[in-house]
Symmetry: C2
Subunit: 307 residues, 2 copies
């Protein structure tokens, strides 16, 4: 089952000739979830071959313009494109009010429903759930209420070993029971433990998006074991005091969060426009957390199944 | 004195992978005026080498998102960039309310003043004036209140012929009087008519932006003699009925407006996304108005001085 993250934009607040502000799209089994929506996000989706009509939900970390100005044109276009299914939007307050004003001034009559879900940025809790996915809010430490989002794939269902189905002549009823995790009794009367006949096809995977934030050990604990961690890295390590005052992190801090979280891989971005050479920032991270890469606009990061 | 128009975006409502929605920048003697502000306009300005801090004023034709969603991120960035001088925004109501809500939710504390000027879209009148320029509103016929904008350079001041200054030994006082348009009396007692000693360096020039609109003969009359006319051309001539219902124009209608206005040159755009080959649309215009060109994104159209 595909699990990937595509970087649609990754620059911090000030625009540049080519880089777009924060926006990513998470793809879990061809279900698409937008994470932040900086200006130009609808065009970035189309450029990356993702039809905006396929978005299932939008998650906004906080209400700074560089993380959400693109949401309003996107909402408008989805109306023009004839969307019929609801669009779920998860964001801190007062996004609900803002969406209402936007609708009042800019949306005549759109053919779909906008379902706003207010995210409590002080709570670590499940905010969305479906058959394959849980999304958790992760409190972050920024200048305004901000939540990170932790996309946790659900444990895939048990598979029954095909050779053993044949060897023991298992019935459909027995297979269903095994998939539910139960032990079964063979015709011979022998009790077979579930784990002797079944296996997990792969381990559940996860992705965490932590932006914008000061260093937070608590956030690291909350995403412990994450496969892929995006952590903002607005400043070089020399700017620790400045970063602190701005509600942002340095390279060293991002790497420490990855280390503390025992993440498998770290990707970094949201660099201040003062940095032209991002490789130097990645190098600073790698001194602490070697498996670090830059989340370049247009890149897709795949989280492979581990068996 | 430079007088030019740069096309920052020119597509109609639906986004495409590369084309941006409506936005243009008028440059008169290195004073920059933004006309409409579709999503991505701040990045488009930077790409075209225009520092957003240099914008003197913004003119919004109407409150459809594809003509103004880019204004809000632009306002926000100008704050980050430390703008100090006021930004004048001319737009139909209720843009004033929208700007207030935007400020409430997205602007903490910007270091410059936003001066909103409500444009009455039913009136043909001067809405802005400075030493070199008058801007007139031109009522248009769209689904919502919409104004076109007519940028009229002021008649340049009289120059006094250098050879005649020498020949008649004119004093500073006499030269000043001549520049004011007065006749003068030479030492000999001879009266010299102003026009014998002075000349206009060039004819005043003008640019008109008419988008979005149904065909309007009245609008054409109001921009009569315009040097460069931008007229929206959303549909091919075969779609006249459809265009009418949508508040848009066809190729034939745009060309007729140019003809009726006795424009020197027509540029067209705001094409429906259904058209992939825009040259065919330009050809339809040229059958009626030969001096027609497509206003391609990134193009700059210069209005040369005529002597």
């Amino acid at each position: 089952m595909a699990f990937s993250v595509t970087i649609l934009g990754n620059s911090s607040a000030k625009p540049t000739p080519s880089a777009h502000p924060s926006a990513q799209v998470v793809n879990l089994n061809e279900q698409y979830y937008l994470v932040d929506a900086g200006e130009g996000v609808q065009q970035q989706l189309i450029r990356r071959g993702i039809n905006p009509l396929r978005l299932r939900a939008v998650f906004i970390s906080h209400l700074h313009g560089d993380h959400c100005y693109g949401l309003f044109p996107l909402i408008s276009t989805l109306g023009l494109e004839g969307k019929r299914t609801p669009l779920d939007i998860y964001a801190p307050a007062p996004m609900g009010e803002i969406l209402d004003y936007h609708a009042k001034y800019f949306l005549d009559d759109i053919p779909y429903e906008i379902k706003y879900h207010q995210v409590d940025t002080t709570k670590h809790q499940i905010i969305m759930e479906n058959n394959t996915l849980e999304v958790w809010s992760v409190p972050l430490r920024h200048r305004v209420p901000t939540a990170g989002y932790h996309f946790k794939e659900k444990q895939p269902g048990l598979n029954v070993d095909k050779f053993k189905i044949e060897r023991y002549g298992l019935s459909i009823a027995q297979i269903v029971a095994l998939k539910r995790g139960e032990d079964i009794v063979l015709e011979s009367g022998e009790v077979m433990a579930n784990e002797k006949l079944t296996y997990r096809p792969y381990e559940a995977r996860s992705y965490a998006y932590l932006s914008d934030t000061n260093y937070s050990a608590k956030a690291a604990e909350r995403v412990r074991g994450v496969d892929l961690l995006y952590h903002e890295t607005t400043y070089a390590r020399s700017e620790e005091q400045w970063a602190k005052g701005r509600g942002h992190s340095t390279t060293t801090e991002a790497a420490r969060v990855a280390q503390l979280a025992e993440a498998k891989r770290l990707i970094i971005g949201h660099f201040s426009s003062r940095y032209k050479n991002h490789d130097l920032l990645a190098e600073e991270c790698r001194e602490i957390f070697p498996n670090t890469d830059i989340a370049r606009e247009g890149d897709t990061f795949f989280i492979d199944e581990r068996r």
